[in-house]
Symmetry: C2
């Protein structure tokens, strides 16, 4: 009776919450549908009926957590701000998300990497979306830098827009690694982690976007 009073959409969210917690705690392979059903207090057949196999459930978890993370980043990185400030705020939102949703992050970044299809495709799509948001931000920064510069350097800066994707990979990889370091060894406010990362990357990234290179 009690189960029937909860609307399906809400019940599904509860199942996903439970699944994220169990996958994070036990790892994908050791996690069982029994454990997940018990965690959210539904029957195993109901869990299968609503969200499919363990693999489909895991893919749904990744999709939801990635969407949440991207929404937080996009909300924070207000395009009316200058690019450095956008990136700083976006990174702060990312580190805050990781601290608040530790289980989500473990599932997204640690559990999800070594799984087979269709999970790999889901993770690749999520990562591409995160990198795409950062790439768009960097391209905007290049465009703005390019507009300020005289002719030839302007052309260099424009040519370098193709490199924004490599820079986005560097930034997202650095942010992932720093988030792991913070969780494991040094809890601190999200702003502090964002400032650490900006202190290393932005001072170098800004001239880089204008065409400066290590080694000249």
């Amino acid at each position: 009776m009690k189960a029937k009073r909860v609307p399906r959409a809400q019940r599904e969210q509860q199942m996903l919450d439970a699944a994220v917690k169990v996958f994070s705690r036990s790892g994908y392979h050791a996690a069982s549908m029994d454990e997940i059903a018990e965690e959210c207090d539904v029957s195993k057949p109901m869990l299968y009926l609503y969200l499919g196999s363990k693999e489909e459930l895991f893919a749904a978890c990744i999709r939801r957590e990635a969407d949440r993370l991207i929404a937080r980043f996009a909300e924070a990185a207000d395009p009316s701000l200058d690019p450095g400030e956008q990136l700083y705020r976006g990174l702060t939102a990312f580190f805050a998300f990781v601290a608040e949703h530790r289980d989500s992050w473990i599932v997204l970044y640690q559990q999800a990497r070594a799984q087979g299809e269709p999970v790999v495709a889901e993770v690749a799509a999520a990562r591409a979306e995160v990198s795409g948001a950062v790439t768009a931000l960097l391209r905007r920064a290049v465009r703005e830098a390019g507009d300020d510069l005289p002719g030839p350097r302007n052309a260099d800066a424009r040519a370098d827009r193709g490199e924004a994707a490599a820079m986005a990979a560097i930034i997202t990889g650095a942010a992932d690694a720093l988030a792991g370091w913070v969780l494991d060894t040094n809890p601190e406010p999200a702003e502090e982690s964002a400032r650490r990362l900006m202190s290393v990357i932005w001072i170098g990234l800004e001239p880089r976007l204008r065409g400066a290179r290590y080694g000249g």
Copy 2:
């Protein structure tokens, strides 16, 4: 007869080569001891006798590949050079290793992350060793920077030595992510990847080590 003529140490290396190839191709969970035994042309009992269970074999693969990677980085990062040049050469060696040992890298960074004990402990130890090498290099850079600076900034730089570990996490995470991006989308010489990464991190890292911060 043929099998008996190969010394044990050499035979073990052949088994590890085959295992790395199979784990990289099939993933840890789907890989079978049959497939690995066939790949290196030994019997399955011999494989178990020499290298133990699939889990032990996987841990041995990670240990060997991590040792190789660390040796390459350490060899390249000659401590008599200035820290920027050390880091540049170390990163070049890393990107060259990834390009030459694509299978090793897939096993080390993609397969290994989501496994259970004892593999997780092995991976954590390997990553700590890599980060430790980078941390040592950064601490040396801080010390050198600190020595050049007048009193109060000197003290700031010294206080910041504790941050070297966070910076090392940022650099190794960025290098991992860039290596993945290069393999997946844009094959290029190792020097070029190292220059890309140095262009972003070093120009910012050097003033950072002297106490400069994003946002002042």
